[in-house]
Amino acid sequence: MLPSLARMVLIAAFARGAHRPAKQLALRSLLGLGAAVVFGSMFGSAITRMHIPNDLALALLIVIMMLAGFFSSGLVLLTMIAMKHDVRSDELICILRTLPLCKNLRWFLGHLPTVVVITYLGVFGTFLVVAASRTVGYWPGLAVIAFWLGLYSAYGFLLLPVLNRVLVRVAAFFGMIFLLMKALDWWLQNSTHVVGQHVPVAICCAVLLANLGYWFDWCSTGTKSKSMASSVVYLKISKTIPQQLWFSARLARNERTRNSLLTAVLLSSLFAAGFWVRSSSQVSQSLVMLLGSILSATFACDVRGVVTRYKPAEQSILWSINALLKQEGLITLLASAVIGLPLTILWLANDPSFFSIVAVISSHLAGGVIGLLVGTVLVPAAGEMGTQFLSGVTASGLVVAYPRVMSLHEAGPALQIAGWLSVSVTALVLIYGIEKTRRKRYGYA
């Protein structure tokens, strides 16, 4: 029974809409695992070439790995939570609830897709942890265990019952990270102090305590009613919306895009505030560009998904494709500018030269357009966990890879601006071509 149920849950999460779901599930799982192994070994070998101090204490290594696992897993899960609309997953939970299954099994099946995602992240991270441990001369076993505990603790933290709203989760998670980092800083400065010797234990306990979230979640399994249509909060907008603003209104009404935008802005603000509080002078332009463009790209992936994938009524009845693309493009650019604003302001404090600022802004806008392109290709709809994850990872990967391939970070501001603008224009042309082809082929099997 368990293999059949697990297969159903994984198909619903990772192969939604596939014509051959079992084959797609196997293919996507292998792709995910393959990518984790390939990228893990690539980054792992890069770590061995880094200058990591040889006298690093084992306790410090363990704490750092636990925090790295906690942070990376939390960040990925928060992005997925912000992109996800709960209704689709609720349907699967409803199907499971009509079946005579015991509480433990239903609880496990509900978490299975997330466990798979964390496991892929863990496989990727394990290569890095092993490489780092070997570089400093320790047996990697303890560091790997600490890293995996950190990964799953982040999920436990996000399951805590008090964190039931996306923005509260984001704020609480970054608050926790801030406190843990402060504790780590304090320990490094006062490692000989009597109290300081207990700080690593306190940090590990704090991270492990987050696993209480699993317990609370298990206790609440079966005590919650099926989600109700009335519980979805729609943003009220005037009925007399000008046609030009119709798409913006649709995005604002959609809980998924709303959460995604708010989360991206909040993350950007938190990163900017964090850099400013810690050491703003050490922030590099490439980091500001990278963070802003990744956040913009992750949001932009969701924009196209607001309009239905194969029956684009908005395209054929309300407007032409050109009008739809104009709306999508304008909103994406505007949202990317807003998402990148905190980081742009941070950079303005570092380097107020005009071209440098324009280069940062253009990278954020290009990130948005790249995200829109990926969203146009994959059209991740609500609840399609696999497609959402894939589009987010692909868009982020493209945003990271493009400047490296074109060596933009080493180039001057004018060349950087030209590079980002050219990729934006290319992406827009591709988006137009894809939508045009999709419209022409509509109705053909």
């Binding site: 149920l5 299954l101 079966g222």
Partner: protein
């Protein structure tokens, strides 16, 4: 004769709040073994909320649903083995699975308590009865009527003591409707209780022994069909009468 039947499901002081403006309140209901009850009411009156509470999808904050003396929430697994649900929504099917895969999944779940071979035989029998043949098509690609047939087979597969149906006739062709009705009748004669939510008053009058009428979350009528017809001429006339009076 009717009065001597065993009461097998009771709903007691049920209160469910679905929004700031809607609350379902059911003071008391009982369902007999081998009985047929139709829940009728206008759109948004609370029919589906009541149905989903009976099958355990909605947990009531106040009140209880008891099946054969067991609390539906505390003895969830035992109660769900006794209840079959036929929903009126395509979302209850995993669109990517084929019908055969979906039935295999259900067979594997129910095989803990019934022989697998028997369950597979029942799937074939039910499919023959409902003229369902598209075993190897993905559920998402099936017509509305065929999806409904899959849901009927899924709901009846484990021979439940209670069958809760939401809009049985939706999407089915006349032959399938006749066959599905005949199937439910046979189950009812065999001792299964049928609880159906519907808008179709003509069908409810013909099918059910007992009618529960709901308006804005409140049970405004709970009576035998023959008595309703004797008093008002038809269920439809009584429905209009009751709704007009309350309005």
């Amino acid at each position: 004769m009717r009065q001597r039947r065993e009461i097998v499901m009771t709903v007691d002081e049920l209160r469910i709040r679905r929004s700031n403006t809607f609350q379902l309140h059911v003071p008391f209901l009982r369902f007999m073994a081998g009985g047929s009850v139709c829940i009728v009411g206008a759109n948004g009156s609370g029919k589906t909320t009541l149905v989903e509470t009976l099958v355990g999808l909605i947990i009531p904050r106040e009140g209880s649903v008891r099946v054969s003396g067991l609390n539906a929430h505390d003895e969830e697994v035992s109660v769900k083995r006794a209840v079959g649900y036929i929903p009126d929504d395509d979302a209850w099917l995993i669109a990517e699975l084929t019908a055969a895969e979906f039935f295999d999944l259900l067979v594997s779940v129910h095989a803990q308590h019934t022989s697998k071979r028997l369950l597979e035989k029942r799937v074939k029998e039910l499919a023959n009865e409902l003229l369902f043949e598209s075993f190897h098509s993905q559920l998402g690609s099936l017509s509305h009527g065929n999806k409904k047939k899959v849901q009927i087979i899924a709901g009846l597969l484990h021979e439940p003591n209670f069958v809760v149906v939401d809009e049985l006739r939706n999407g089915l062709d006349p032959i399938a409707i006749a066959r599905a009705e005949a199937l439910l009748r046979r189950k009812q004669i065999g001792g299964t209780s049928i609880i159906a939510a519907t808008h179709d008053l003509w069908w409810a009058e013909r099918f059910a022994e007992e009618i529960i009428m709901i308006r804005r979350g409140h049970v405004i009528l709970n009576d035998y069909t023959r008595e309703i017809v004797a008093k008002s001429g038809s269920l439809e006339a009584r429905f209009m009468e009751v709704y007009d009076n309350v309005a």
